[in-house]
């Protein structure tokens, strides 16, 4: 019963989205669309609006994922090396942009970015997306390094590897999976971001969620549903990748 409820509550919105994206002349009180059409999908693939927004979202997602890795790894590693109140304070600092309401974060960043000339630019939006993503990444890597056996680094150095060689030849290869996870985390933070994009990007930066938002507002339900389905793709891909990776989990050391 409980699982049935979960299945309905989790799947129903997406089933409805799928129906909306292909349904035609679907009015109350019809339970299912009387006709189906692939028009909105054709529009999506041929029109520049959603394709362009998808491309922008992909670029921002990839950039944000990179930030989550490149900044999150060293920050998380440094936090893991701290002890006592310093570690707690550091973790709280990393948690702040994650816990803060996105609209509050967006408002704060908007004021700063406008002064820096970054308002309404792709770079500005990327940096804005990176703020919560770095927080997520740092917290994620804090967890990773809390259980990472650092003796393997000592082993490497004792065998003659410099700190740099140890990082690139031992630590980094062992962190392939966590890095992929952190990248996916950063990507998803950016992919679904609306408040930061709206406030920092102003009007010029059009991402997929922004387009879907405006399609919903303008009543273009079928196209909005199609765009929303497209938004789901990376999340489902990330879920599948995590499941796949979990089934072939590597050990950190033997």
């Amino acid at each position: 019963m409980a699982l049935g409820l979960l299945a309905v509550s989790a799947a129903a919105p997406f089933v409805l989205l799928a129906l909306w994206s292909v349904g035609r002349d679907w009015f109350y009180p019809a339970v299912f669309p009387p006709k189906f059409t692939a028009e909105s999908w054709r529009d999506l693939l041929s029109g520049e609006r959603l394709l362009g927004a998808t491309a922008t979202s992909l670029v921002l997602g990839a950039g944000t994922g990179a930030f989550a890795c490149i900044a999150g790894l060293p920050v998380g590693r440094s936090l893991a090396r701290l002890t006592g109140w310093r570690r707690h304070a550091g973790a709280a600092l990393a948690f702040l942009p994650v816990a803060a309401p996105p609209i509050a974060l967006a408002t704060g960043l908007q004021f700063s970015f406008l002064r820096l000339g970054l308002g309404g630019t792709l770079v500005g939006v990327l940096l804005a997306h990176a703020v919560p993503a770095i927080g997520y990444g740092s917290l994620y890597f804090l967890g990773v390094f809390a259980v990472f056996d650092s003796r393997i680094e000592e082993e490497s150095r004792s065998l003659g590897a410099t700190s740099r060689q140890t990082f690139f030849h031992v630590v980094l290869p062992l962190l392939r999976r966590p890095l992929a996870d952190a990248f996916a985390l950063g990507f998803l933070v950016s992919w679904s971001q609306v408040p930061l994009t709206l406030l920092v990007g102003g009007g010029p930066v059009r991402t997929l969620p922004i387009e879907v938002f405006s399609l919903v507002q303008s009543g273009q339900d079928r196209l909005a549903a199609t765009g929303a389905l497209l938004l789901l793709v990376p999340a489902i891909a990330a879920l599948a990748a995590t499941r796949l990776a979990a089934s072939r989990t590597e050990v950190m050391a033997v």
Partner: protein, 343 residues
């Protein structure tokens, strides 16, 4: 000692809340095996890590193959420190693991293949090069870790409790692997262990670490028969101790009779320590004793005998059938008995 693989001069290192290591000096020649023994928390691992450059500590001088390395980072010391549990790199194959020290030194091509092949052959790892460490048995992992440690021919190899928590079969396998490595590559080898028998069987010399200081460094035969102090004798847990009196004429008077002292000691109450070899059962022995118990062991069966209140453990060397209650005669080997003033 003219040639030095490792020379440590006045090393100090903190550990935990204890005072730490103080004034530790020792040398190990190339090809020599030194075992460091001491109670848990004596600082054995701290000492190895300080020498390897992986832990805190400072020395007046740490010399490796004649070169001062005390201020160098771990990777430039020429000292390989092997932890108790072999930590192989799980993302590399066995062959890649063994080749790692050569690769990070910039060695490439056939030289790597030759060196890796040679050491893997010596350690019976041939045919395992393509395997992942996760698929190896416990013994193979230890041997791979040893192969990787020695492949770049470091002048000094430090082994931290290499036999701890191993079952007897694996212990024997790893011990033999250490012998092979040491005889083939001749590094100065320092081995930390809490097992005195292991130390005696494997090392040319044993260093006893007590209260942060190196109390004695001596060959096993010397250490076990001539502990330098009461503290060392107690640490060695020599099976026999006999109370008595140190006399002004330089002798020791006890149930064993009057024995000459090997070294001068202040007159007064004293205690003699000795291993099972200090006293033996002999038909013409001067001391009468009664058999209390026989202790059967694979290596050496011993007999516990009583001299009044004192009990001694002595070797059973083909004296025929002995059983509790039988009277025996004992002969004392004075040279194997160490006497110290009683605390």
């Amino acid at each position: 000692m003219t040639e030095s693989g490792l020379k440590v001069l006045r090393l100090r290192a903190p550990f935990g809340t204890a005072p730490g290591l103080e004034n530790i000096s020792f040398e190990v020649a190339p090809g020599e095996r030194l075992a460091l023994v001491g109670a848990s928390g004596a600082g054995k691992t701290t000492l190895l890590r300080a020498v390897a450059g992986l832990g805190p500590g400072a020395a007046e001088r740490i010399e490796v193959a004649g070169r001062e390395v005390g201020t160098l980072p771990a990777e430039r010391r020429g000292v390989v420190y092997l932890q108790q549990t072999p930590l192989l790199f799980p993302h590399l194959t066995v062959g890649e693991n063994v080749a790692f020290p050569l690769r990070v030194r910039g060695v490439r091509g056939s030289r790597v293949d030759a060196a890796v092949g040679e050491v893997m052959e010596a350690l019976r790892l041939g045919g395992l090069a393509k395997r992942r460490p996760q698929s190896l048995s416990g013994g193979q992992r230890h041997r791979t870790a040893l192969a990787r440690a020695i492949v770049a021919r470091p002048p000094v190899l430090l082994l931290d409790e290499p036999f701890a928590s191993l079952d007897p079969v694996l212990r024997h396998e790893v011990r033999e692997a250490v012998r092979v490595v040491q005889e083939a590559y001749r590094p100065a080898l320092v081995l930390v262990t809490h097992d005195l028998d292991e130390a005696g069987a494997l090392a040319a010399r044993i260093g006893v670490l007590l209260d942060g200081r190196l109390a004695q460094v001596a060959p096993p035969s010397h250490l076990f028969t001539r502990p330098a102090s009461l503290a060392v004798a107690r640490f060695l847990r020599l099976p026999n101790s006999v109370p008595g009196t140190i006399r002004p004429d330089g002798s020791f008077d006890s149930v064993l009779g009057v024995l000459p002292l090997r070294a001068p000691a202040a007159p007064g109450p004293g205690v003699a320590f000795f291993s099972v070899d200090g006293v033996r059962i002999a038909p013409d022995g001067a001391i009468a004793a009664r058999v209390v118990e026989l202790r059967y062991r694979v290596q050496q069966t011993t007999v516990v005998v009583a001299l009044g209140d004192v009990r001694l453990e002595v070797p059973l060397d083909g004296q025929g059938e002995l059983s509790p209650g039988i009277e025996v005669r004992l002969a004392v080997h004075a040279g194997a008995i160490s006497v110290f003033p009683a605390p």
